[in-house]
């Protein structure tokens, strides 16, 4: 793999089976077996034959409608899901924010949750403890909240803390799924700033977002996916424009906010 690449994806396909049963219980399974019935499953082709090289220092925005395979792609790059075909080569340490509030036990304090989140992502206890105050400060938690149970946090505080943990891991590659919807406008601006800093340090960012304005503001490349396949890749303005035409909606500010 060439040194300048952060992620190399070769002919990647991800297929999985979804159980269509209303109740996934042992009782139903036994009943079905006794009646000689098969379990109802549907095969989902989440990503189809995708090949892409992502150089270090790029900020890639992945857009597409629901079910396009965007989140599945990020989970595969993170090693959470395995490829069905093809392969993914990742050159660098990954930090992820693919589900908000990840690793957080609501009964525990913010500080305890930061330690758990850091350890889960592979940091040592010393490394994560040295970052706790920095994370709390970045998340702009009101005074004293860092030592209060997370269940007492507002949804904004919860989201800001999750984002702060993800960006504080000094990752080579940062994978974000709709994370920028957390927090208010001021926090969004601070998040953008932090991500620009990461880019200047030649770190790579992949963002899945329905907020098209985020993609045009922050990303240097956009990737449009539809039903598991890559439709187009290129300059964010062009790709977003094509995507809006495909959706048959204009580029009104409201459309750019959430598509």
């Amino acid at each position: 793999m060439p040194e300048e690449l952060a992620v190399k994806i070769e002919e990647l396909s991800i297929t999985y089976k979804v159980n269509l049963e209303a109740k996934r219980t042992l009782k139903n399974a036994v009943m079905r077996a006794s009646l000689g019935q098969q379990m109802r499953v549907r095969t989902v082709e989440a990503v189809k034959n995708l090949t892409i090289d992502i150089p270090h220092g790029s900020v890639i925005g992945i857009i597409g409608s629901n079910g396009a395979g965007k989140s599945t792609l990020l989970r595969c790059i993170a090693g959470i899901l395995s490829p069905t075909e093809g392969r993914v080569i990742v050159n660098g340490k990954i930090s992820t924010l693919l589900a908000l509030g990840v690793g957080f036990n609501p009964a525990l304090s913010g500080r305890d949750n930061i330690i758990l989140g850091g350890l889960a992502s592979g940091l040592t206890k010393d490394q994560i403890e040295s970052k706790t105050d920095e994370i709390s400060e970045f998340a702009a938690l009101p005074e004293g909240f860092i030592d209060m149970p997370v269940r007492t946090y507002s949804s904004g505080m919860y989201g800001r803390l999750s984002f702060s943990v993800a960006v504080s891991m000094t990752p080579d590659i940062l994978l974000l799924d709709e994370a920028l919807s957390a927090g208010d406008a001021a926090f969004k601006e601070k998040s953008f700033e932090r991500m620009r800093e990461l880019c200047e340090e030649a770190r790579t960012i992949l963002i899945v977002s329905h907020a098209l304005a985020t993609v045009t503001d922050l990303c240097d490349t956009a990737l449009w996916m539809h039903k598991g396949s890559m439709v187009a890749k290129g300059k964010p303005e062009q790709i977003v424009d094509d995507y809006l035409k495909f959706l048959n909606v204009g580029s009104l500010p409201s459309n750019l906010e959430d598509m």
Binding site: A29, I80, T84, G101, G122
Partner: protein, 293 residues
């Protein structure tokens, strides 16, 4: 000495696993590298579990203790029995319940660990077996305070009833760590099986509470292992916790050492549980993120 870099290489390649299992050596190395996560998760979950309870961790001891007293009333007083035998029965009941609860907590908490760790699983790539392992560590942490309580009851009982057959200090107590390791490994192995089942069938945990209760009645907790004689003793060894609970009774109640068959039974069930549970869990863990999302 392996380095962190060796365990977590900078370049990672994700490919389809042709065989049912992922490459096991990197898996085990990564499991070992992240052991601190499992230890801390156990510590934090333990802390969170009793945060809102006024009596806190006292429940950990109080629950099996009260249960032991109830069973003692049922088994001894209704049936009738002398003071000395009564103390032996009470001690047997308590240490049997404490040990059985250790295994039961490993299994029940471990079985829930994947479905309750959903967001962690959706966000991070790590050996998923760390979650049931953490539950087993938590169960062990919760078991530990019951030992001094048991010893206190033993000492007080011997003071009032010095003729009791329950032993004082004996070197055979050195078998106890071996028994606990076997119980922990058996519990962890079975937790891997039930954690996997619980991902596919969400009522597994409900069923587990019935299974463990019936299992306790079939185990030498309410009755002495010597009750089974001849061929029926095979039932003792067919029970994954049978040999370990027999060993518990032998050491704690009779002060005896362990004979070959009991040692073999303990090791056999620990190894078999880990092998079967490990294979079942690891071969399916790539599916977990899809099933719980």
């Amino acid at each position: 000495m392996p380095t962190d870099q060796e365990f977590a290489p900078k370049i990672q390649v994700f490919e389809p696993h042709r065989a049912a299992l992922p490459p096991l050596i990197p898996y085990i190395k990564e499991f070992w590298r992240r052991r601190v996560f499992a230890i801390e998760l156990a510590r934090f979950n333990d802390k969170a579990e009793y945060l809102d309870s006024r009596l806190g961790k006292v429940w950990l001891v109080l629950n099996p203790l009260l249960l032991g007293l109830v069973y003692y009333l049922v088994v001894t007083i209704i049936r009738g029995g002398g003071h000395t035998n009564g103390l032996t029965t009470l001690d047997h009941l308590l240490i049997g319940l404490f040990t059985f609860y250790f295994a039961q907590n490993c299994i029940i908490a471990g079985a829930q660990s994947i479905t309750t760790g959903g967001r962690l699983i959706l966000n991070q790539a790590f050996p998923r077996a760390l979650l049931p392992f953490s539950s087993a560590l938590q169960a062990f942490q919760q078991f530990l305070p019951t030992i001094p309580v048991y010893i206190f009851i033993l000492v007080v009982g011997k003071y009032f009833y010095p003729t009791t057959q329950v032993p004082g200090w004996t070197w055979n107590f050195l078998w106890i760590p071996f028994i606990l390791v076997c119980v922990g490994l058996t519990g962890f192995g079975l937790a891997l099986v039930f954690a996997t089942l619980n991902v596919y069938f969400r009522d597994t945990n409900k069923l587990l509470s019935y299974i463990t209760r019936i299992w306790m009645y079939l185990s030498p907790v309410l009755w002495l292992p010597e009750t089974l004689k001849g061929k029926s003793r095979l039932l003792l060894y067919a029970n994954p916790l049978g040999p370990a609970l027999t060993a518990t009774s032998n050491v704690w109640i009779k002060g005896e050492g362990l004979h070959g068959l009991v040692i073999f039974g303990c090791i056999f069930w620990a190894v078999i549980s880990i092998l079967i549970g490990g294979y079942f869990f690891i071969s399916r863990e790539r599916d977990f993120a899809i099933r719980i999302s």
